[in-house]
Symmetry: C2
Subunit: 300 residues, 2 copies
């Protein structure tokens, strides 16, 4: 089985109360791929500039990620600079330089066209649809989005939602797209637009999974210290899709496990800047933390 | 077994997007008692004015609540008026008239002094401590508080926390009292001040229970429509303490169940104004909703 991800690879300058990192490895496709690589084979489609440090590509390859779809163009890599305060819930963006990402038109290599699961990370919904037009119908398609597209390309986004199996959004995005403060109602509304499953990520409050007349509520892993929340959402998606791909099915039980794996992976990612924690992560640590979710959420 | 509660009985004027109710039955001791009465015998200590409608007392008695500790004084009953917007998370207070509640000095009737569990609802922490001085050491003491006392009587409140077994606070109160945005750290800090168990209520995001090196995270019951959130916190406490009293123990497993029963009771209470939903509630409905929490929160 393999997973196709289409999204951004970026150099991030991030400041949190615990420090600052300049031009560190980031981007939605990066965080997703790294996380998913612990579960299954990942095919990455993204674009970087010729300023992109080759050691970052080596790092991705060291996790078995297929980077043949990572194009290197003349110009600079997408650069985001932002900061988080003590509450860590929302970033203040200082600058966004799209650079080579501005004209990103995802081209899916021939070798990737039969990927089993697809994650359309947060890019223009028209490009997300364009990806689906280039591939054979996969077993499962999931998408993410952001406030910018909800505001600016709402119609295209609703059309995209009609074409995916799973929508993965955060709390604010779910409320914004449905114009509905109640998250339970928001989740059900989004399902009516197409995706059979909807995941709403709530940061420190965990995540909600919506299916046909069913809801699963997962807690977040209790963390006393979040060093850098950048990439937590894409890392969640990586664990979530990774588990579904590895399991080879997407029944309700596997979906619930996938939400827990997503939470596990996100909880590791926020323990350090960029991919610093993920670089040292082991499969045993993943299994152990997954098991910790049982006494955390079960009662008899 | 029996439960002693000391708190307020009020007449509330409440406005939500779904309607308005004038001088309807409210108050922390009211919501707590009504909820706990589904689990065990409740002894209530509170004060009302001679304007208090006798049918409200009959309603409490109809649930077997012992109201011998409810004093009727010359004057008016505590009256609170407030409104909620669509997000339902925070009330805007229009007026608070303490009336006879202003000089409330809880006197514990002789018959109540051997109560098994005690809930000190949100009143002046010095009065809360005064209650403990009037009774034999109960098996379990829990307390609530609010921003007003955290600001104004912090020292007394910290002293009180050293005397209770369980502190039940909401998210904002936990952050305020610890001056700590991270809830996991806040819960652990409060435990270090005394209470062996801390419950942090997070509204639509559920509740966290803190024990020695252990955390239990309960989801909220998924609700599409909250008609009136007034009293949800005290109703939660009623289900929580009610179950602990009925079970006759407070081990970790029973505590986790108690958090679920608290969530169950709160979810019913917000389905209508005042006690309107609770009045028609049955034990079967409570059991059924408790069971619904299993597929909501468990995974295999």
């Amino acid at each position: 089985m393999s997973i196709l991800v289409v999204g951004s690879v970026a150099l991030d300058t991030v400041e949190t109360p615990f420090g600052k990192r300049e031009r560190t490895l980031g981007g939605s496709a990066t965080f997703f791929s790294f996380s998913a690589s612990f579960f299954d084979r990942v095919n990455m489609v993204a674009v970087v500039g010729n300023d992109f440090p080759p050691e970052h590509i080596e790092l991705l390859k060291s996790r078995g990620i297929d980077t043949r779809g990572l194009r290197v163009l003349d110009g600079k890599t997408f650069h985001w600079a932002g900061a988080y305060g003590y509450d860590m819930n929302t970033a203040v963006t200082h600058s966004t330089c799209l650079n080579v990402f501005e004209n990103f038109k995802p081209e899916i290599p021939e070798e990737y066209r039969k990927s089993d699961c697809v994650f359309l990370a947060n890019i223009d919904p028209e490009l997300q649809m364009g990806v689906l037009g280039q591939i054979e119908r996969p077993r499962l398609v999931a998408c993410d989005t952001m406030n910018f597209w909800i505001d600016g390309k709402r119609d295209a986004l609703l059309k995209l939602l009609g074409m995916v199996d799973v929508a993965i959004l955060n709390e604010a995005e779910a409320r914004q797209i449905t114009r509905q403060p109640n998250l339970v109602r928001a989740g059900r509304m989004i399902r009516e637009w197409g995706p059979a499953r909807v995941v709403i990520k709530k940061g420190e409050h965990g995540a909600l999974l919506f299916g046909d007349d069913r809801i699963f509520a997962a807690p977040a892993y209790p963390m006393e210290e979040i060093i850098d929340p950048t990439g937590a959402g894409d890392t969640f998606a990586g664990g979530f899709i990774g588990h579904l791909s590895r399991a080879g099915n997407a029944d309700w039980n596997t979906m619930r496990q996938a939400v827990i794996y997503g939470s596990v992976m996100a909880s590791f990612n926020v323990e350090d800047f960029s991919l610093d924690r993920m670089k040292t992560l082991t499969e045993k640590e993943i299994r152990d933390r997954y098991r910790e979710f049982v006494p955390l959420s079960h009662f008899e």
